[in-house]
Amino acid sequence: MPKDSHAFLGWTNRRFPSSGEQEQVSLFLGGAEQSKNEPNQMIVLEWLFLTIAPCDAAEPWQLGSQDAATPTMQGIIDLHHDIFFFLILIFVFVSRILVRALWHFHYKRNPIPQRIVHGTTIEILRTIFPSIIPMFIAIPSFALLYSMDEVVVDPAITIKAIGHQWYRTYEYSDYNSSDEQSLTFDSYTIPEDDPELGQSRLLEVDNRVVVPAKIDLRIIVTPADVPHSWAVPSSGVKCDAVPGRRLNQTSISVQREGVYYGQCSEICGTNHAFTRAPGNIGRLLSPLWLSRTTQGASYPRSKLLQRAAGAVGSRGARQ
């Protein structure tokens, strides 16, 4: 587990307390926490971000989506908010009409009910208006749908995520020369009894997937045995792994560094609930990502990652 923790404006993620420190935390509205030892000038800035979850994993009693880390997820959240406007409009309208009808036609206030058999005008109106609302919903919905379906022609890196019962294998094969094997590693969920202090229960893995940030990535998802699904809520990704000679592809472009968590999203056996789909997408860093992740220049894995980082870095410089 990397030593460094996430600190946003001096606020340390409560899931990663420094070892040996007793963190005293106080709860803000909305559930964000602040250490009592923090300087007060940080409080003003932190209040701005109360509505943003402090980490990219599910929170207890969470109501909304996890914070978006990709344009896709931001689009999904925005579409939800757009549709929710119409939901509120209709809910308030219908509730008011219902309450007013109950009020006006109470048996004491209105002992003799009127015999109404039809009303042509109102029937026309209540057909036309509800058919216009889905048109307003469809426009942003289709725009997002087709933008999510766009295939990235030239991704910086392609990662294969292979689902097994009940772990993941990740393969980076872009930057190895012909006589080298691809960088391949397995990613197992850390069992419930084993996590270190500060680790999230049943979300952490032993080997995280490390990818660069702010760059187009292609993820190819396939299983080795039964169906699985690779899902990372904060990236807005869910890609099924379908057995047979099928490779499903998805693209993401993560806009900020961080550790992102996901879980297997297709029933795959008895330990389905204990399989981490991405095995953490892991640290998403700038094109200088390599220096923070490898164990040393001579480590075999690092050579491949160096080459990858170099390619990604030069691509980043071109951009």
Binding site: D4, T51, F85, R96, R256
Partner: protein, 63 residues
């Protein structure tokens, strides 16, 4: 529906047009409040990424 009023022996009945109009108005107000919340959230997100881009905040601590 003649007159858009509901007939009653003694009391003036409710006006259907008025009730529907008020219902739509309340719905738009409530929807408008939600939209304000949505725009506020978008503003905060934009501010966060702007600060991140400028380097005024960081997500990862120095090692």
């Amino acid at each position: 529906m003649a007159g858009h009023k509901v007939a009653h022996v003694a009391l003036k009945g409710p006006s259907v047009v008025k009730e529907i109009g008020l219902g739509i108005a309340f719905g738009l107000v409530a929807g408008g409040l939600w939209k304000t919340l949505q725009w506020e959230g978008q503003r905060k997100t934009r501010a966060f990424y702007d600060l991140l881009e400028k380097g005024e905040i960081r997500i990862v601590t120095e090692e």
